[in-house]
Symmetry: C2
DNA sequence: GGTTATCGATACCGTCAGTATCGTATTAAG
DNA sequence: CTTAATACGATACTGACGGTATCGATAACC
């Protein structure tokens, strides 16, 4: 699966025999999967429903992805991933705050259900767990860490920060609320979370 | 389910007609469920396997719990819950640290898989989500908050603390790592997490 | 003894992920 | 134009599993 997630690099114009695959069929299927799963949740959507929504036979779907989880993961990476950019600002802390606000809105939208579904499914699907961690979580953590480094360089945070821990402390509570439903994920929450975080990371 | 989770209060010696239920059958089934699910995970264990492991017919099981999720949740509450006490210490911060260490060990043991399984299942099972939140998460959060209050009273933490947020900041990162697998959950992690938390909550 | 509810066992049902197959369509090669 | 190879939508099928129904036997109370 791991090499299949995120459309294989087109095998270099290699002209294969037989009828070629539909041009935008991949995207149509991904969009159908994204739409259904983000509104109803992974377990409440069947593969047949995704195929029907895309106006496609089930085999067309399984010819392109090895299983349901890989398809939905791909939908997230291809359709949603590129739209989750890190807002740039001169002050790194402003970038960080914007990023946290965006994350809060993201989790509060239908995409929150999508993320929850994938994390849930990943608990019993090792391949999905690896893909989600390496292709979704880690790149975004890296972005956060870069921002934190920049904030340190700008003298807004103390030096000698454990960046992994800091990232856990900023995002852990968001995922915690997303998955446990113990509280709302709104701007006020993020604001207080960040303020408290900064309180513990003042520069000397 | 919610009124069924955690053995109904025995209907007051009420002598019902017909053959009475087995004495310790409940416990035997719960222990089988706990053993299997905590080692293999919820999705990798079938109801038939639990029944076989308990040496019991499947119907005996469904006569006592409405479904698989309720059974496993009950196993957690009945067999594990009572063994997760809050360590007492004169210094509240020592209690807090001990509690976090215990939680880290708990998550690192087979019970970590059990908790992950239930949270995953709860993403598509509203009743389970409510039960898990109200009967497992919330009581333990309340214990943490009491400890934090005590620490404030002892002058170890500043006043005017957002206790809900503080609990999220302490436990969010632990659940985050448990569910995402982004890092180990060991004593070093907990120690640095708590140290960083305290850094942001010094008394005036 | 009659009533009632439990027991283990087993057959059964419905759902769903994933596979196989069929007739058709579309491309490149010859 | 024919042939080979692949994709297509549709549909039937398989296997696994959660949950239900049923059966003959058992154990309590009246």
């Amino acid at each position: 699966m791991s090499q299949k997630i995120v459309k294989k690099i087109e095998t270099a114009g290699k002209t294969r025999p037989g009828r070629p695959r539909g041009e935008d069929t991949d995207r149509v299927i991904l969009e159908a999967a994204l739409r259904l799963v983000s509104t109803r949740g992974f377990r409440n959507v069947t593969v047949d429903q995704i195929a029907a929504e895309a106006g496609v036979g089930k085999m067309t779907l399984y010819r392109r992805w090895p299983n349901k989880a890989a398809l939905v993961m791909d939908a997230l990476l291809v359709l949603v991933g590129p739209r989750t950019q890190f807002p740039e600002a001169e002050r790194a802390l402003d970038s960080l705050e914007s990023q946290l606000f965006l994350q809060a809105r993201f989790f509060s939208s239908d995409y929150g259900r999508l993320i929850r579904s994938l994390i849930a499914e990943a608990q019993s699907d090792m391949e999905l767990a690896v893909a989600f961690r390496e292709r979704w979580i880690e790149p975004r953590r890296e972005g956060v860490i870069q921002t934190l480094r920049k904030a340190v360089a700008q003298g807004e945070l103390r030096t000698k920060i454990d960046f992994q821990l800091a990232t856990d402390m900023l995002y852990g509570p968001l995922y915690y609320r997303l998955l446990l439903g113990t509280g709302t994920i709104d701007r006020a929450f993020v604001r207080r979370l960040l303020a408290q975080f900064l309180e513990g990371h003042r520069p000397a």
